[in-house]
């Protein structure tokens, strides 16, 4: 049942740090977070790690395991071969605070830059009527648990610190898409600002965000690409542009 596990855990802070070797017991069915807790309780009392639910619901325990952005509470130890050394590091796209804990405030700043839902005037609580098929697209994006693994893996900011100021990241592209597809939202400039302020155009649809999303949200196919197409409608498609001008003049729109 139990097996002995060899780990390399990154320990340190924003100035120094490195990988430390640890050997620890693992039981049947345990996930990496269990192992980290065992290390914490028996060998490194001050090993810093974030977690909450231990059920893949809160998105706190994001880290990189063997170089891949993952939730530690949803990563089975058994998924690694017996003799493999498991390397655990903090997220590498964000500044580290201590050990496995990083400063993810970037994401909260970006959240602040996206206007929230704006319901039509005159609609009172209890009155909205929306069909299931109309809310389903946005509901997929609202599954997001804000683990920020997609943000961590996105090369636009992971590999280019300087892009952070002009790029909101996949987590917030799905937020914009959610609102742009919301059946009642009244804000009409979301496509334009997605491109001009939130850096949608910097995404080169290489899909790493989709690959790491623990909620299996199809970020690229269902949010980013549809948003790119909507941006084209608005900004780059001469025919649609002409069409909308004509319709406006004739008072159809």
């Amino acid at each position: 049942m139990t097996r002995t596990l060899k780990l390399r855990i990154w320990r340190g802070d924003d100035k120094t740090g490195g990988l430390q070797d640890v050997t620890v017991e693992a039981n049947h069915g345990e996930v990496v977070l269990d192992i980290i807790h065992r290390v914490q309780a028996t060998q490194m009392g001050d090993l810093a790690v974030r977690w909450n639910c231990k059920a893949g619901k809160c998105g706190s325990c994001s880290m990189e395991i063997n170089g891949k952005p993952r939730l530690a509470c949803m990563t089975q130890v058994a998924s690694y071969p017996e003799d493999e050394v498991i390397t655990i590091t903090p997220l590498r796209a964000f500044p580290v605070i201590k050990d496995l804990v990083t400063d993810v405030s970037f994401n909260y700043k970006k959240a602040m830059e996206i206007p929230t839902v704006s319901m039509p005037e005159g609609v009172k609580p209890g009155e909205p009527r929306m069909q299931q098929i109309d809310v389903e697209r946005s509901q997929e994006f609202r599954k997001c648990i804000e683990c920020f693994l997609c943000q961590d893996t996105c090369h636009v900011i992971r590999d280019h610190e300087e892009n952070k100021k002009s790029f909101a990241g996949p987590r917030f592209f799905i937020r914009i898409a959610e609102l742009d597809m919301h059946p009642l939202d009244t804000l009409r400039n979301r496509k334009k600002t997605a491109q001009e302020e939130h850096g949608l155009g910097m995404c080169n649809i290489t899909k790493c965000c989709t690959e790491v999303c623990p909620e299996h949200i199809r970020i690229t196919d269902n949010a980013i690409i549809p948003m790119k197409e909507r941006v084209v409608d608005e900004k780059y498609d001469p025919l649609r542009w002409l069409g909308s001008k004509i319709r406006k003049r004739e008072g159809i729109l």
Binding site: T87, I133, H155, D159, N204
Partner: protein, 291 residues
Amino acid sequence: MADFTVPALTRIWRTLDKGSRLLLMATGVFSQGRAKITERTLRTDKWWLQPLITFSVLIAFIFYATLRAFENANYFAEPLISPFYSPCLSDACVPGSSLLGHLFPIFHVWGMTFSPALFILIFPLGFRMTCYYYRKAYYRSFWMSPPACAVAEPHAKYTGETRAPLIMQNMHRYFFYAGLVFNVLLTTDAILAFRNSEKQWGHMSVGTLVLLANATFLWFYSLSCHTCRHTVGGRLRNFSKHPIRYKAWTLVSKLNHYHQNFAWVSLIGVALADVYVREVATHAITNWYFF
């Protein structure tokens, strides 16, 4: 005194290996404040395999397609025409191969006849170049931006698709429309292949099947396209007000799930169809008739 002239610094820079250069540039995963880890990636799986395969297959295709496009021969064997050359639009086309007549005269470049394939290939090429799936494929495997997820890319600067030329990717929908026209033409070619070499109807050969399969794959590729998904219904805010478009969108969404697969199958399909026609045209094989 240390030498701080530009050539001296460049010399020092060149002596460093890539890893330390990146470290010195102190960007990306090596930026100030991020966890100090010297590896570009700690992935232990074969992350390089996928881009390598993509790269190899695409290169092989490009190589073959270029050769064939310039060959200007062996693309027609009544009633079969190679998808690389259809529609054949120039006076240079071999007799019987032009479905839509001749739009272009013969002209020569550096003494060579300008191959009729070159007039039309721009469309399928543009379609695939701007395809959302192929973009992912070549950004990863050719441009290494990024080579694989959580593997640091080698570029110091990155602006994505915000500037010329990559901003032109936004023209994908026009190539999609063109792609549809091509699908119709290639489907017509497949239908015309229900004839024998004397142009009599009611026959079917292996070549018929090859062209049919090719056209089918191309339809699946086009119908599963992201732009198609957007056009049929994706751009709507309220599906419930457009039940038919919602149905269409649902269907296209299902196909869209497999767009990557259709992209490869249709690419290889085109190549194989061309190989078959060429073999028949050079008499290496005979086009076997079922009836």
